[in-house]
Amino acid sequence: MDYSITKFLWTLLGLFIVLNWGMLMSSTMRRIGARVSGRFGIPWYQPWIDLTKLYSLKSQVSHGAMFFLGPVFRLMGGVGIFLFLPIIYGSDHWSNYSFSGDLILILYFQFFGMLGMALGAGEGGHPHSAIGISRGLSQFTTIEVPMTLAVISLAIQYQTLSISDIVAAQQGGFTTWTLWTNPLATAAGMLSLLGAFGHSPFNLVKAPNEIPIGPPTEYHGVFLGVLRTNGAILHVAEAALFMNLFFGGATNWVELIVKTFLIYFWSVFVGTVFPRFRIEQSVRWFLKVPTIIGIIAIIIFL
Amino acid sequence: MQKIIQDIESRYSVSEKEIRRNNLCFLTIPKNQAISLVTYLRDYQGYSAFTLLTAVDWIEEGHFQLTYLLNNPTNYTEIGVRTMIERDHATMESAHHLWESMQTYQRELKEMFGIDFPGSPRVDEDFILEGWTDIPPYRRDFDTKKYAEETYFPRPGRETNDPAEYMKSKLFPND
């Protein structure tokens, strides 16, 4: 079979695995959260049911073309990050389309989905959407500051921006991981991850009991289904990105599952402990501690 | 308290006074003096907190009784200023210039009793009832049961008992 077609099919399979793992991971995390507050929580298969239900609703309203396209952009954002990420190190099948760009491509592809979501929700015309997006964007600008610093620090450390090369440099056990060799960059990156995953204390944007419920106020049914699909993929893809950058990558699916789970768990763990920040608080917070850590992470290489 | 009441009596024609406790009393004065008294109490006697304004429909006597309840936050006393107004074309001087919250009470009275307060801001707007077309519902000549039966599709077969009798028969069936 033609290489491009086999590649496509492998990628599709990878996407399928990632989607399901993402949903399982999210239900598990919600169960963990429920246990913390003394409940049973949702059944582990609840995300699949919810998704099925959302895709099977029988009426649907639309506010216009961009409202319709918004979820597609959003899903493309998540899928795109997956596509450009070498998800399993050393595997040709699971390196996806990472040959078309390096780390910078992934960092900037995050915006693709955000922009689409912002525009789609904006066309919904609901004031809460616009407020939610403005908060989300405000927060995101500062989330990216420690991330950028961490990436620069990594680039100095490894003299490369290719994710595969960064992972390759970390092969050989725990002591070669970035976590060990460059703990400050890891710290900055992991703090930035808290914001990127949008759990408490940085979930002002989408928390149901803030302006309900932020950007996706008007989204329902199939649209919401697409957004949830994206959420599952995006969480795994982002966790995999952090795994590749800081935790030695994964050479097989089991390793990927364990590592992404732990990375995701980190944000849930913080989220169950800390209360929510207001937007200016989170903006200030990201510009303080994580940024300073990031700066030091660069200074030590100077 | 006594001193204040005496002082008021010397200045206004108090037709009736009712001292409930040593820190609460009600004075009834003519309609044209009521706002003046309220202002006096606010500005000279320290009754700076406005608690409420309410009305009672004395349908038999043909008038509404308005009560302005004022509180003195320094010596914790309260004075209710009562005044009787005509039930037909009931109007009363507005006191929204004394306390802003007065507007809301006056709006409510307008809606529920039909007492007009000319000049009070937004007094004609809907307050609680949206789109009420009948006579004001707190007037005692408004038959709420009849209205409800006409309007709200009562479910047939509903039994109604006098609560006291019913409780008695349930709890002490042998008596």
Partner: protein, 1043 residues
């Protein structure tokens, strides 16, 4: 040949004859006077012609047949012929101009005028110092007489003051003459000059007295109150003559007497000239009365000329050229302005808005102002250029600085005035009526400026190569200004396309210039296309737009620094007029002009240093600056950065771009700013890396670029005005470019080029589309817009694509810039600047979302419900540019690879291509593959959603969940105003307008200082006399006390 003596004879004869006439026969008298003035003008003109064409030798004329020292002798040489021609021409035109006034005031005044002109002639021609004295006396008495003719209330006073002051000065002069006669035994100037009086004991006193009186005649600052009063009080017609004639003659007197004291006295002329130049200009900033303002300006110009005379030993052979070119500009412009002032008849500057009723007169007004400041193509431009170049070769940096500072201060008030005339409401109480005898002189003076400018230019080194063809095209468009927009637009576009084709054949091997040629001229064509949707004639737009584009083309074509600077100034002038066309643009056009002039002077200084380093006039001279290298590069960079609006110099931009017309904004933003980029690139290429000062400068500029980006982008976030938002965004984007080129590696420059190309495309689209929408919706405020996606889908798509490019989101070309940036920064090691840059880059999303949301999404407003798509003439160029973006995005290597190869000549190669894939030492990127992957995936996902979707009910804008309520009004439902309140709370302190506060306080300081200085002019004669005495004493103490 008519002998010059006839000038005196005829004038005196006629003056007597006029005296004999009856006082009622004013018609005959005026005819006679004009005939006399025409005759003497003819005589001097004839001599000038002889000298110029036939190269005739200088002629000495001896009266009464004796040789000096026994007789008065006159000299008629090239200089005298020229000056007398100028004086007589001004006299004739003034006579013509004043003919009605003179008829009213009677025969006597005609006599006085004749005598006045004649006396100035003699002052120029005479070689006898006593004779000079006599005619100085005559001229000042005549001046007083002329002033007294004015019916203004303060004229009498002013005339008397003038008479008394000049009387004192003449007395002094006489004493000086007596002294010098004592020492030299001759009254002949040539013999005096040869007598070396300085060497004789006490001779210094004689020279001092003569010089002080000559200088006082020229009204030095601050001892010049009487002169100012005369300018204010006299009829504008006389003021013109006084300003152009007396000053010319007086300066020539100083020039004649220069050898008397020798070189030791020159510095005093320079110092006094400099003080006068700067002081008077400072005073000018506070003037409200046009005549008084012109008076200060005249005096300051005389000060400048005095400086030039004082510097004559350093300027060498060029002195006369420099002095003449500045003098003639001053002469023509000042005469023209005074005459205009007589036509406008307004006692305050604001009244000059009446000129807009007669656009041609406004054009002439602009001509005079630009000539005074020294813009090309006027002679003063070349004079100033030569002056600065010569001073730089002599390492006379102090005088250079002072001259440029003074010129800048002059620009402050002159451009304020011009702005008033262009933008203020036309006053209804002022009427301008056409009188040919008043208008003709003005026309002639303006014509003089252009003609002399053209003829003067080849005299400057490198000036002969200046390409006047684009300017002729501009002139042709001026002539065709009455045509409708459609025709003019077509002509302009055709002209530009023709020129572009022509230009490309010249630029075959120069990719950098080719790219900028495409941006400048291709951009010109695209933005001009948007002009097709305008109606009417759009008076004045096309010449100015074309002038700007001519300047831009000139910059690309320029081989020498002079050509470059010439084009740079032409571009500035054109863009100034474009910018000031906007409705509320007056203050913004003004600040744009001031920053531009400041920047231009910085450039001039830098060029001068480059020239002085190797006496090389080509641009390549920038490559080997040896004099004050760091300063030179800094100044040049600052000069270019005023155009790129970098931090500190950016405050003009938001207003200027935000308030400009809808198709002017893209011209000045997408295209004009690139001129600064081109300049910077040129500079850095010649500068190269490795020089110590240069590297420091680059480092600083890197930080400036990074901070500019941050401030620009943050500023944009908090804007409510759509066009200002875009303007701030431009500041930010130009910051990126500055940063990128400061990196000075191949990657950095590639990023710079990518940003330049991208910014050109997306900012042109955004300004075109948003400008069109702003016009259509009748508001700049974004919160008054909303929901336009339903009404203007094509605009939305255009803006959306631009936004994706600005944000640097893959797969569009903006990402190429980001990718190159990251790699360049990490390779260079500028990590923290890089972090700032990327932080700023993400902030861009805030304003981009605000822009697109507030305008296109959200709630459609009541009054926009019937809105239609914007004009196709705006959309067509936008979509052409979108095609460009798409091609650049899909095939980046097609463009970036050649640029990289071009840059590899200058920098070590750090990027290589394998097919469509780019590699650096750090990573890789394949734009084409990304495009394919993203497009495929997007289409598949869209298919997935369509597949899963049920029948969709399309709903209206208020069908939203609203906490069980319903929205009441679109205005209250549309979230846009202060949308980033939380962000402002957290980081808003970063956008405190520090820079604005700095410049505001600077200008306040300047104005306060000028206001304080103004108090010395009390109008009181005693004070003025005291000034004179003090001036003499101080001068004495400095000149002789220290001897």
């Amino acid at each position: 040949m008519v002998a010059p003596i006839y000038i005196i004879a005829v004038a005196l004869g006629l003056a007597f004859l006029l005296g004999l006439l009856k006082s009622s026969s004013t018609n005959l008298g005026s005819l006679l006077m004009l005939a006399g003035l025409a005759f003497i003008a003819f005589v001097s003109g004839q001599w000038l012609y002889e000298f110029l064409i036939n190269g005739r030798a200088t002629e000495m004329i001896f009266t009464a047949g004796f040789k000096p020292p026994f007789s008065i002798n006159l000299r008629m040489g090239m200089q005298e012929a020229l000056l007398t021609t100028m004086i007589n021409a001004a006299g004739l035109l003034s006579g013509l101009y004043l003919i009605d006034t003179l008829k009213k005031t009677g025969i006597n005044s005609m006599t006085v005028l004749l005598v006045f002109v004649m006396s100035l002639n003699v002052i120029v021609m005479t070689r006898d110092i006593f004779n000079l004295f006599v005619f100085l006396e005559i001229s000042s008495i005549a001046t007083a007489g002329l002033v007294l003719l004015s019916s203004k209330g303060n004229a009498f006073q002013a005339g008397m003051k003038y008479l008394i002051a000049t009387g004192i000065i003449s007395g002094l002069f006489l004493i000086g003459i007596i002294f010098s006669y004592l020492y030299a035994g001759s009254l002949n100037i040539d013999e005096l000059n040869a007598a070396h009086i300085m060497d004789i004991k006490g001779g210094a006193i004689a020279i001092f007295i003569i010089y002080v009186s000559v200088i006082l005649e020229l009204k030095p600052f601050p001892a010049n109150g009487w002169g100012i009063d005369v300018y204010t009080a006299a009829k504008p017609g006389f003021s013109a003559l006084i300003s152009s004639g007396t000053a010319t003659a007086g300066l020539y007197v100083a020039y004649k007497l220069l050898p008397l004291g020798g070189e030791t006295w020159l510095p005093y002329f320079t110092i006094i000239g400099a003080i006068t130049f700067i002081g008077s200009n400072l005073m000018g900033t506070r003037q409200q009365n046009p005549n008084r303002l012109l008076g200060y300006s005249s005096i300051s110009q005389v000060g400048l000329l005095l400086m030039i005379l004082g510097l004559s030993n350093q300027l060498g052979d060029n002195t006369l050229f420099i002095a003449f070119s500045i003098l003639i500009s001053h002469y023509a412009a000042k005469a023209g302005l005074f005459w205009l002032s007589g036509i406008v008849k307004s006692q305050n500057l604001e009244g000059w808005a009446v000129l807009r009723k007669q656009p041609f007169m406004l054009f002439l007004f602009g001509t005079f102002i630009f000539a005074l400041i020294g813009f090309p193509p006027f002679p003063s431009f070349f004079g100033k250029w030569q002056l600065i170049m010569e001073l730089a070769t002599q390492e006379n940096y102090l005088w250079m600085t002072l001259i440029l500072t003074g010129s800048f201060i002059e620009a402050i008030y002159l451009f304020k005035w011009l702005g008033f005339a262009i933008k203020l409401d036309v006053p209804s109480n002022i009427v301008m009526k056409f009188e040919w005898n008043k208008y003709l002189p003005v026309y002639l003076m303006a014509l003089t400026l252009y003609v002399i400018g053209f003829y003067v230019s080849p005299m400057v080194e490198g000036g002969a190569f200046i390409n006047y063809i684009p300017l002729l095209f501009v002139l042709a468009l001026f002539a065709l200004d009455f045509l409708p927009v459609f025709v003019k637009n077509t002509i302009s576009i055709a002209g530009i396309i023709y020129y572009m084709v022509d230009l490309f054949s010249q630029l075959e091997n120069d990719l950098m210039r080719q790219i900028f040629a495409v941006i400048f001229l291709g951009g010109a064509v695209l933005t001009l296309m948007a002009g097709y949707n305008k109606k009417g004639t759009r008076a004045g737009f096309y010449p100015m737009a074309l002038m700007m584009f001519a300047g831009l083309t000139g910059i690309i074509e320029a081989n020498s620094m002079l050509e470059f600077f010439f084009s740079w100034e032409i571009m500035t002038a054109g863009s100034y007029f474009l910018i000031i066309r906007g409705k509320r643009s007056m203050p913004h056009g003004y600040s744009y002009m001031l920053f531009s002039i400041g920047g231009a002077y910085a450039l001039l200084f830098g060029f001068a240093l480059a020239y002085a380093s190797g006496l090389d006039t080509t641009i390549a001279a920038l490559g080997h600056i040896t004099q004050l290298t760091t300063l030179a590069y800094t100044l040049l960079a600052v000069g270019f950065m005023t155009k790129t609006a970098s931090l500190g110099l950016h405050i003009w931009l938001p207003g200027a771009h935000g308030e400009a017309e809808s198709d002017v904004s893209p011209m000045v933003s997408a295209i004009l700013l690139k001129a600064g980029v081109f300049g910077l690139m040129l500079l850095f290429l010649y500068m190269g890396t490795g020089t110590e000062g240069g590297d420091k400068l680059l480092y600083v500029l890197g930080w400036v670029g990074a901070l500019t980006t941050l401030v620009g982008n943050l500023g944009a976030v908090f804007q409510e005005d759509a066009k200002r938002l875009l303007a701030y965004s431009s500041i930010g984007q130009l910051g990126y470019i500055l940063f990128a080129v400061s990196i000075m590696t191949q990657l950095g420059w590639l990023a710079g080029f990518t940003y330049t190309i991208n910014h050109f495309m997306f900012k042109a689209i955004l300004f075109l589309v948003i400008g069109g929408i702003v016009v259509k919706l009748g508001t700049h405020n974004m919160y008054e817009m909303g929901g336009m996606i339903k009404k203007m889908p094509f605009s939305f798509i255009a803006v959306l694509i631009s936004i994706i490019v600005i944000g640097g989101i893959p797969p569009l070309s903006g990402f190429a810039g980001k990718w190159l940036f990251y790699h360049a920064i990490i390779q260079k090691g500028w990590y923290f600047q890089g972090a700032v840059i990327f932080f700023a880059g993400i902030i861009a999303f805030l304003y981009l979302f605000k822009l697109i949301h507030s305008v296109f999404l959200g709630q459609l407003k009541d009054n926009h419900r019937n809105m239609k798509e914007i004009s196709p003439w705006i959309l067509i160029p936008s979509y052409l540019l979108i095609i460009g973006i798409m091609i650049f995005s899909a095939f980046p290597q097609k463009i970036l690879q050649p640029i990289g190869e071009m840059l590899s000549v200058y920098f070590p190669e750090s990027l290589h291509w394998e097919g469509t894939k780019a590699y650096t030492s750090l990573g890789y990127w394949d734009g084409t593959t990304i495009m394919i992957v993203v497009m495929t995936a997007f289409i598949l996902l869209l298919g997935w959603l369509v597949l899963m979707s049920k029948k969709i009910k399309k709903v209206e804008q208020f069908n939203i969940v609203y906490a069980a309520e319903r929205p009441f009004r679109p205005e209250t439902t549309h979230v846009s105003y202060n949308i980033y309140a939380g962000y402002k709370k957290a980081v808003g302190f970063l956008v405190t307008p520090v820079v604005e506060i700095f410049w505001d306080s600077m200008s306040a300081l300047l104005f306060d200082f000028a206001g304080w200085l103004r108090r010395i002019y009390s109008g009181n004669m005693q004070n003025y006399a005291l000034h004179v005495v003090l001036f003499i004493v101080v001068f004495y103490l400095i000149a002789l006390g220290g001897l």
